[in-house]
């Protein structure tokens, strides 16, 4: 695979289209829809206390199970809590879990993959076989096992989501490093005696950034979904915290009796936020992956 650094010059020559990174990205309509969703949810999460008309945890059984109305835009749940407010506050939890989860995956996966790829040999083999073992588990089952063993809660859900994502990043970084370490600029660095750690950080990592960025964006969507699944299964947030997965779990008892709004709105929130990250991730890949880009 080519790196951006090398490739950027060749792209600049085909001057007919706006071909800067942002220019290409802005032209990608789907990526823009994704970005819109992400910005929307980020805004909602940041200003949740201002936007939400009610407290997300205030119960009032006198108004329980009310259908969407002017007073309660998304209706109320079985405790009379305002679903609109809960969805808004849920955005905070979901985005946080996604960011922390992917953060953990990156912080551990990228160095591990880099070391394994750069040094290779026995060390690399051991690291990558451990990663393969982790990959062999279905990710949700692994996350459930981790969350259950640490004890259910928001933090353990974040840790579980993070650990599950490690091998993906490690493998990606491993592949990048293996191809990059043979490049002339790395060899040149080694020849003049630059330390391994500096080569990895300053020369290999920046050149591997593009695919990692794509992976991290897609990973955010996956992390949100996994965290919501954990909460749905009772391994995530503690009641009465508003979290989309937990809201769906609580509301599913009411599907038959006709209170569709309890699960529909958090469901919609999950869909749009994940769709946002996936669309943007795909868009980023289109822009950053030289093979696709030059092919156009």
């Amino acid at each position: 695979m080519l790196s951006i650094a090398e490739n950027s010059s060749s792209i600049k020559n085909s001057a007919s289209k706006p071909n800067s990174f942002f220019g290409l990205l802005f032209k990608n309509r789907l990526a823009m829809i994704g970005l819109f969703f992400i910005l929307f949810w980020t805004f909602v999460a940041l200003f949740a206390p201002i936007i939400a008309p009610y407290s997300p945890t205030a119960t009032n059984t006198a108004i329980k199970l009310e259908a969407p109305s002017a007073a309660h835009w998304m209706g109320t749940d079985n405790f009379g809590r305002d679903i609109f407010s809960r969805v808004i506050f849920g955005a905070r939890i979901s985005l946080w879990t996604g960011i922390i989860g992917v953060g953990i995956s990156c912080c551990l996966g990228i160095p591990l993959g880099g070391i394994a790829g750069y040094y290779g040999g026995k060390l690399g083999n051991v690291i990558m076989r451990v990663m393969d073992t982790l990959l062999a588990f279905p990710s949700l089952i692994l996350a459930m096992a981790i969350a259950a063993s640490i004890g259910p809660g928001l933090i353990s859900a974040m840790i579980a989501v993070g650990i599950v994502g490690i091998p993906e990043f490690a493998r990606l970084m491993f592949g990048q490093t293996v191809s990059l370490r043979e490049k002339e600029f790395v060899e040149a660095g080694r020849a003049i005696g630059v330390k391994d750690s500096v080569i990895l950080r300053k020369h290999i990592f920046p050149n591997a950034l593009a695919p990692l960025l794509v992976r991290a964006t897609l990973g955010l969507g996956f992390a949100i979904l996994t965290a919501a699944s954990l909460s749905f299964l009772g391994l995530g947030v503690k009641p009465p915290t508003a979290e989309w997965g937990a809201m769906i779990s609580e509301g599913r008892e009411y599907i038959i009796s006709g209170q569709w709004w309890i699960i529909s709105f958090p469901g919609l929130a999950i869909v749009t936020s994940i769709l946002g990250f996936n669309l943007l991730g795909d868009g980023l890949r289109d822009v950053l992956d030289p093979r696709i880009r030059t092919g156009k």
């Binding site: 119960t59 059984t61 329980k64 405790f79 259950a148 259910p152 809660g153 009772g234 009465p240 008892e253």
Partner: protein, 522 residues
């Protein structure tokens, strides 16, 4: 080209074979249906653990056992508001046609039915009874009840007479011996097939044979045509195991199931609108309580426990969580248990009183505690959230810790949980049995470590008191002390909600909540 042809031939033959296979299966099904007569489908939630009467310990396993086995004696049935419910105080003959009690109340002599036969064709005789009781004694789960029955020895006097000696008079003996645990097993079958045979197969004299039992999907029973009390009216019963409550409700609503159990309270009103269905909602003796660890600060202080009891939105729990399919609980004993009293129950939702009690206990500024919430029951979670919101108003922070059900049951047994919600059904509807497990100092299920010397003394006194009225008086005193002490917050008593098709008749509600198929008809 050659390859394609060859493939086509193979495909064609496979299709033909499949079609032929379908044909035979369909024919078989039709034949079976014609011969079998009346069939019903029941929607259950759990698939059960074992078919061994002495080891069965969950609702589905117990149901399997009661379909396939008989007991020496059984409970009577009475009418209440036009519906049939079991009368556990009245004991009726089953495999034993009569029994005598010695004057010292320590020797019971049972005479067996002349015509009772096991499904294998062997007669039900005294040796089988002795063998079956011995089986309970040596079992993991049932041996506890054997000890509780205070059985000292069991001997066969002749082919049809069994004598059971007790180590001391026990007013619960007959009620315990009527439980499914003490089912009479055919020893010849077990000797022939080995000891593990009972786990997955039956060897009883009961009204139904188990054709198939797969805990993941379904159990199928066919009526025993030679049943000694006459063959059952329903010739085939299929129990479908469906975890998700909403799916059970849908099956019932659409008419694909003749009966569904464990119906969520919020669906009751809708189901009642369906003209093809009857919804039975019977007050059970299944109670739900919030238990404190009375050995842990601050719950070692009765004032703190009382304060919490004053901060509970009792009406909301019954009305908004249970949709009125429950009743407020006012004693540690269920209200339909003989000897129940609500004396001492002064608690009502009164936050000022709660705050005042906290102040007296030295917790004017509140405190925080860990609350363990076992999974599996939506209403538990709803209760916890509502209680949490109320406690916050008196400065008490309740941290809800979720725990998977299996883990929760284990954690309870450590006696280390600070506070938790739990349910209980006493299969023997008697305060002695009930309190003996739950709140007697040495009770095996006293997971909140409640200890009150006075309560223990009253319980022990009652245990050896032969006169029922005097015994109940002692239990009432114990209940009053417990209620005042407030080791539990009393939440509610569940109704047993069963939905069934209008044309299904003969449902009898038993306090143990197990459905006996034999009385059903269509």
């Amino acid at each position: 080209m050659k390859k394609t042809k060859w493939l086509a031939v193979v495909l064609a033959s496979v299709m033909l074979l499949t079609a032929a296979g379908c044909g035979t299966n369909a024919n078989q099904a039709v034949n079976a249906g014609a011969a079998a007569g009346k069939e019903i489908v029941l929607a259950y939630s759990d698939g059960g653990q074992t078919m061994d009467p002495a080891e069965a310990n969950d609702l589905t396993s117990d149901t399997l056992v009661l379909a396939a086995y008989d007991q020496l004696i059984t409970y009577g049935v009475k009418k209440a508001n036009g519906a049939d419910i079991a009368n556990t105080e009245e004991l009726k003959p089953m495999l034993a046609k009569e029994w005598k009690v010695s004057d010292d109340q320590k020797t019971y002599t049972f005479t067996l039915q002349d015509n009772a036969k096991f499904q294998s064709g062997n007669p039900v005789n005294a040796q089988a009874v002795v063998w079956s009781l011995d089986h309970v004694k040596n079992s993991k789960s049932g041996s506890f009840l054997y000890g509780m029955a205070e059985i000292e020895s069991c001997t066969a006097k002749d082919d049809k007479t069994v004598e059971i000696k007790l180590s001391q008079p026990n007013h619960l003996f007959l009620q315990i011996i009527a439980m499914y645990t003490f089912s009479i097993i055919d020893p010849a079958v077990v000797k022939d097939k080995g000891a593990d045979y009972l786990k997955n197969n039956e060897a009883g004299s009961g009204p139904y044979k188990v054709e198939k039992w797969d805990p993941a999907t379904e159990a199928v029973f066919t009526a025993n045509p030679n049943y000694w009390q006459g063959a059952a009216k329903i010739s085939k019963v299929t129990m479908k195991f469906i975890k998700e409550a909403s799916n059970r409700v849908t099956l019932l609503d659409k008419g694909d199931a003749d009966m569904a159990i464990e119906i969520p309270a919020q669906n009751v009103a809708d189901l009642k609108k369906n003209a093809n269905l009857t919804v039975r909602s019977d007050a059970s003796n299944r109670i739900l309580y919030l238990a404190f660890n009375t050995k842990v600060k601050p719950f070692d202080n009765p004032k703190v426990r009382q304060a919490i009891s004053y901060a509970i939105p009792y009406d909301k729990l019954v009305h908004d969580v249970m949709y009125d399919q429950a009743k407020q609980m006012k004693s540690a004993v269920a209200s339909n248990t003989p000897g129940f009293t609500d004396a001492g129950f002064v608690y009502k939702y009164d936050l000022d009183k709660a705050k005042q009690l906290l102040k007296e206990a030295g917790y004017e500024n509140g405190f925080s505690f860990d609350f363990t919430l076992g999974s599996g029951f939506q209403d538990w979670q709803d209760d916890a959230v509502l209680i949490q919101a109320e406690l916050a108003k008196i400065g008490v922070k309740m941290n809800i810790q979720n725990m998977a059900r299996a883990q929760f049951l284990e954690a309870q047994k450590t006696h280390n949980l600070t506070a938790y919600i739990s349910k209980w059904t006493s299969f023997v509807n008697d305060p002695g049995y009930h309190l003996g497990f739950l709140l007697y100092g040495k009770g095996t299920s006293n997971y909140g470590n409640y200890q009150n010397a006075q309560v223990d003394k009253l319980w022990e006194q009652a245990n050896v008191e032969p006169d029922q009225a005097k015994r109940n008086e002692l239990y009432k005193q114990a209940q009053q002390i417990i209620t005042t002490d407030a080791p539990w917050v009393y939440l509610y008593e569940y109704n047993r909600v069963v939905g069934m098709n209008k044309n299904l008749k003969g449902y009898v509600f038993y306090p143990d909540e197990i459905i006996r198929f034999y009385s059903l008809s269509k």
